[in-house]
Amino acid sequence: MLNRTQISTLLVAAALGGAITVSRADETYIPLISKGFQHQFWQAVKLGAEQEAQKLSVKISFEGPETEAMVDKQIDMLSADLAKHPKAIGFAALDSKAAIPLLKKAQAEHIPVIAFDSGVDSDIPLTTCATDNIAAAAVAADKMAELIGDSGEVALVVHDQTSRTGIDRRDGFLNEMKAKHPKVKIVSVQYGGGDQLKSTEITKAILEANPNLKGIFGANEGSIIGVLHGVKESKKKLVVIGYDSGKEQIEAIKSGDEAGAITQNPIGIGACVVESAVKALKGDKLPKKVDTGFYWYDKSNVSDPKIAALLYN
């Protein structure tokens, strides 16, 4: 029995050993802690960071909690990464205030912190690489108004009501409508957790309740995929506007099921983090904020190389 136990233990140890990547001590190591890793968006940020890291010959790692609710898991990740005494650190805070004690520790150890995505409410990060989500959602609102003839009923399917991106995209859209398109009426704002299936059900319910609906805005990739499915299942025809990219969304735009979407520049965000960190290590002065940009894309420019480079499948 004991032998079998020992064998199993050895097997596990060997399996672990195989998975380890040996790191050299003299390499510049920069861990990036994001808000997630499973969504295609974060994978694109990771790709951008990896490409930039290779260019500047530094070593990075990229981690994030399984859901954007897991604030404590993200803090554990930050804590484990600080124990490795990295040269610099990239951080997309789920909750800025919760991370302050650890960020202070990084500051005390003179580890430069680069914030990305929604940023960190504090003076500690040297710069923030992010999209201006409020301005981007306002563009989505303008396009929506234009496509429905500047009047009628519109609904929103948003990923959540607690995260910075959820709040900014919702408010950016709502405020722009209120200020510039008074005849457009927002009849419903619902939250689907970025889950495709939940967002589908929500969309169907909205369509059921509002037969005169002219358009729906889905505020992230998961939400808009749900909206597309919900509209299809309800066999309705209306103006659908999305956010980010992903294969399904790009195809919907090409086929005309979706009018268009806002894309951020996730690869640019990843590259910006690594580039800023390396600059900080050289002692360069960094701007307080780097707007990594956003673009409106639709059927007409989805294949344009400039746009295609920002989209991920």
């Binding site: 596990v12 990740m77 484990a80 124990a83 490795k84 302050i100």
Partner: protein
């Protein structure tokens, strides 16, 4: 109390005998085994990376175990009765949010707020326990329902956004301060860890030295026999769920104090991590056996694994796979060992 006296004594004696056998027999060995696995893991990670064995990182591991450890203690009680509590994670969150309401919105004194948050947990446990004992709902369903109720209530009460504890200055010291560090400055073990250990010792004492503990085991071994010996089964069962709920309240305070905020969207999924810790620690899901010490070791195995893989920069996707494999392996080895006994 109309219990026939002799029957009660007999039942208690029977329970005590089986309990003694468990302590000196399989359970003791299980604990040794779990402890050995923990040491093997730590030695492995220690050799694999110099960063792992640093005091700072070990303190980080201790701190990251505190919340899951406390939730796992709550789960241990329920699982020993052959029940399951799926509501521990979101109940923790709801208690954290209520602590925010008591301390930040109502400006209650710190200790009143703390006790009220624990009472919130106990109240929710009272509901779960009543559903299980009186309405005869299967524990899985009753606590699944309560998991969703707590999750929703946390969002409603908090108004969908975090509640911060910036007004009550001492609140963060519940988790982040260090009483041990005050005595031994070189070893600033966070209070959350101290609370975990104190709670573990208390829970262990309840399980092994009180009537409640004896009935917890007895209900898991043979509920019908306990009922037939004239014991008020429903009352003890409800008490166990109330206790588990109150312990979730403590977890809620720990997480809120660590994050200095009550995060209303957190908590789902934490019940499964707690159950994993309990099972790795040798408590059987079919009830009747288990120890708090085993559970604590199980919780540490989970967090050492998470931290170690992270320190080694194992890609995150593989971290998840390895954690799953270890859980299956740990429980399988336990089953093999039991068969040999």
């Amino acid at each position: 109390m109309a219990e026939p006296k002799t029957a009660t004594i007999e039942a208690e004696e029977r329970v005590a005998t089986t309990f003694r056998a468990q302590v000196f027999g399989s359970i003791a060995r299980q604990k040794l085994f779990a402890f050995a696995s923990l040491i093997v893991l730590m030695v492995f990670f220690g050799f694999a990376s110099p960063a792992f064995m640093q005091v700072e990182n070990l303190l980080g591991i201790l701190q990251s175990t505190a919340v899951n450890g406390v939730l796992a203690i709550a789960s241990t009680f329920v699982i020993i009765t052959a029940g399951i509590d799926l509501s521990v994670g979101t109940l923790m969150t709801f208690c954290a949010v209520m602590a925010g309401v008591f301390l930040t919105n109502w400006q209650l004194p710190l200790w009143t707020g703390v006790l009220a948050a624990i009472a919130t947990g106990a109240m929710s446990g009272l509901l779960s326990g009543t559903f299980v004992a009186k309405l005869k709902l299967p524990p899985f369903i009753a606590t699944l329902g309560m998991m969703l109720v707590n999750k929703g209530l946390a969002l409603v009460v908090a108004g969908d956004k975090p509640i911060y504890f910036s007004d009550s200055e001492n609140f963060s010291t519940i988790s982040q301060g260090s009483m041990i560090g005050y005595v031994l400055p070189s070893l600033p073990v966070p209070n959350s860890v101290l609370i975990l250990f104190v709670l573990a010792i208390a829970a262990s004492a309840v399980l092994s030295r009180t009537a409640l503990g004896r009935y917890t085991f007895a209900l898991g071994s043979n509920e019908e026999a306990v009922r037939l010996s004239g014991v008020n089964v429903d009352r003890w069962k409800i008490t166990i769920y109330v206790l588990a709920g109150a312990i979730c309240g403590v977890a809620g305070l720990l997480i809120a104090s660590r994050l200095n905020s009550a995060q209303p969207a957190l908590g789902q999924g934490y019940e499964l991590e707690a159950i994993a810790a309990v099972v790795i620690g040798g408590t059987s899901l079919s009830g009747g056996t288990g120890t708090v010490l085993g559970t604590i070791i199980g919780a540490f195995i989970m967090s050492v694994l998470t931290n170690g893989l992270r320190i080694l920069s194992v890609p995150q996707e593989w971290q998840i796979v390895v954690t799953g494999v270890i859980i299956i392996l740990a429980v399988y080895i336990d089953i093999l060992r039991r068969r040999k006994l």
